[in-house]
């Protein structure tokens, strides 16, 4: 049973992708593809509405060697933050 990690306030993303309205597995696939375009240390912001992303994105970060920075609740969607690993 996982706790929700809240992202720090001062995060500045280098890239943002829109996954709103999408359901599993599309948000994770788009995240996986987008992170390929970033440099290690850069931050990806994923806008999503699928509650499944709360498991998928942190779980995938751990496996793929990226750092999951947390989420922020916005009006009608969630912002997820991923820092690309080396």
């Amino acid at each position: 049973m996982s706790d929700i990690k809240i992202a720090p306030d001062d995060i500045k993303p280098d890239m943002t992708i829109d996954c709103k309205g999408l359901s599993c597995p599309m948000p994770l696939l788009k995240t996986k593809k987008a992170i390929q375009k970033l440099q290690p240390g850069q931050i990806l912001e994923v806008l999503g509405t699928d509650p499944g992303s709360r498991n998928d994105i942190p779980g995938w970060c751990e496996r793929a060697g990226h750092e999951y920075l947390g989420e922020k609740q916005d009006q009608g969607f969630i912002r997820f933050y991923v820092k690309k690993g080396a």
Partner: protein, 386 residues
């Protein structure tokens, strides 16, 4: 934090682990089969579609089953959606989610393929695979082979689609604030409906009431743990993650032991959920269904709990799936496809291997499966490159 608040969080808002979901699912499907019948999804959906086609005049004969509240097939689907809605609402996760346009096209195509696949396999991943394996029928693992190849092909398609059709512009109509309120109303409604069945004059009132509340339990458990057989079969090839896959293997062997006891002791007929689809129906149906469910992002059961969460894409998948399945099965009936054995034979494994031998075989298959996906979690050897 008060103990009350903690209990609410643990029971209603936090996601349960897939393993907990798999174990509870096995427990509930054994209870349901002990109560009255094996768990199923597509039968209820097809029944609704049969009534739709009958009402608009496409079918001449009235469907044999009652459309809504007095057939168990229908009740199982209503219960699953109801239970999953309670979970989604109490956890503040219910919201109408409108996907980008391309997802609507995918939903229709995927629904059609799922309808065809579930006709050939005489069940979706639930009736044709999960419940077939644990009812000790040989077609279950054959469908699994088909499903896996369908899933692999669909992952390749999804990779291709990402390159060519980048999509955005979906949104959610959120009910964040009133969610828990909706959940409590739905929960009270469920209890009242169950009580009404038990006290009703209907022929099988008690049976139906039991099916409703057990199916609602299944829906609640699946939603809270986001138990997803697509995820279980897909992730070893997409990210390497094996958590859901391991949970599914444990769920399969636990439920198989439970249902084997019911059948061995004559509580349920040995022929229950042993369908004449060994080998070709299960294999080809599994392949087509596996491709469809991966593009849909939900199998038979997974689509329904996502419907309850407000995912519009899966609502379309479920509707098209039901309509297609009804049409194809209608066509099968015209040409007596099933009766003529064109889909294969019905094989109840204990007739050949005995009960102990069958359970050992199932245990062996899930053990090998468990070890392979666990090994792959580290090595990523099976993961398809993007």
């Amino acid at each position: 934090m008060s103990a009350w608040k903690r209990a609410y969080e643990n029971l209603c808002t936090k996601h349960w682990s897939p393993m907990l979901g798999g174990i509870l699912l096995a427990f509930l499907v054994v209870l349901l089969e002990a109560w009255y019948r094996p768990w199923g999804i597509v039968g209820g959906l097809r029944n609704w579609a049969d009534w739709f086609f009958y009402t608009i005049g496409l079918y001449d004969e009235e469907p044999a089953l009652h459309p809504l509240w007095s057939s168990t097939s229908s009740i199982l689907d209503i219960g699953l959606i109801w239970g999953a809605f309670i979970s989604a609402a109490l956890g503040r996760e219910f919201g109408i989610r409108i996907p980008p346009k391309i997802e609507f096209v995918k939903a229709v195509v995927a629904g059609i393929l799922m309808g065809i696949g579930a006709s050939l396999a005489m069940g979706c991943n639930v009736g044709g695979f999960y419940m077939a394996v644990n009812n000790l029928s040989a077609n279950g693992f054959v469908m699994l082979i088909g499903l896996i190849f369908g899933v692999i092909l669909a992952i390749k398609y999804l990779y291709w689609e990402l390159e060519r059709f980048p999509s955005s512009g979906g949104f959610e109509i959120s009910f964040h604030k009133i969610n828990p309120f909706l959940g409590i109303i739905a929960l009270i409604g469920l209890l009242i409906a169950t009580k009404a069945y038990f006290g009703s004059d209907l022929d099988r009132g008690e049976i139906l009431g039991g099916c409703l509340i057990l199916a609602a339990g299944i829906g609640y458990v699946m939603h809270r743990s986001r138990f997803c057989m697509v995820n279980a079969l897909r992730e070893p090839f997409m990210t390497g993650d094996a958590e859901m896959g391991k949970a599914l293997t444990v769920s399969l062997i636990l439920s198989a032991v439970g249902i084997a006891i019911l059948k061995y002791n004559g509580i349920r007929p040995e022929s229950a959920y042993v369908t004449p689809t060994f080998v070709q129906g299960a294999l080809i149906g599994g392949f087509i269904f596996g491709f469809g469910m991966t593009v849909a992002g939900g199998c038979g059961s997974g689509s329904l709990w996502r419907v309850a969460e407000g995912q519009v894409k899966l609502v379309i998948v479920a509707i098209v799936f039901a309509l297609t399945n009804s049409l194809v099965r209608h066509f099968f009936a015209e040409y007596e496809v099933i009766e003529n054995g064109y889909l294969g034979k019905a094989i109840f494994m204990p007739e050949y291997l005995g009960y102990a031998g069958t359970l050992l075989l199932i245990a062996l298959v899930v053990l090998v499966w468990y070890i392979v996906i666990d090994w792959n979690e580290d090595s990523n050897k099976l993961v398809l490159e993007m």
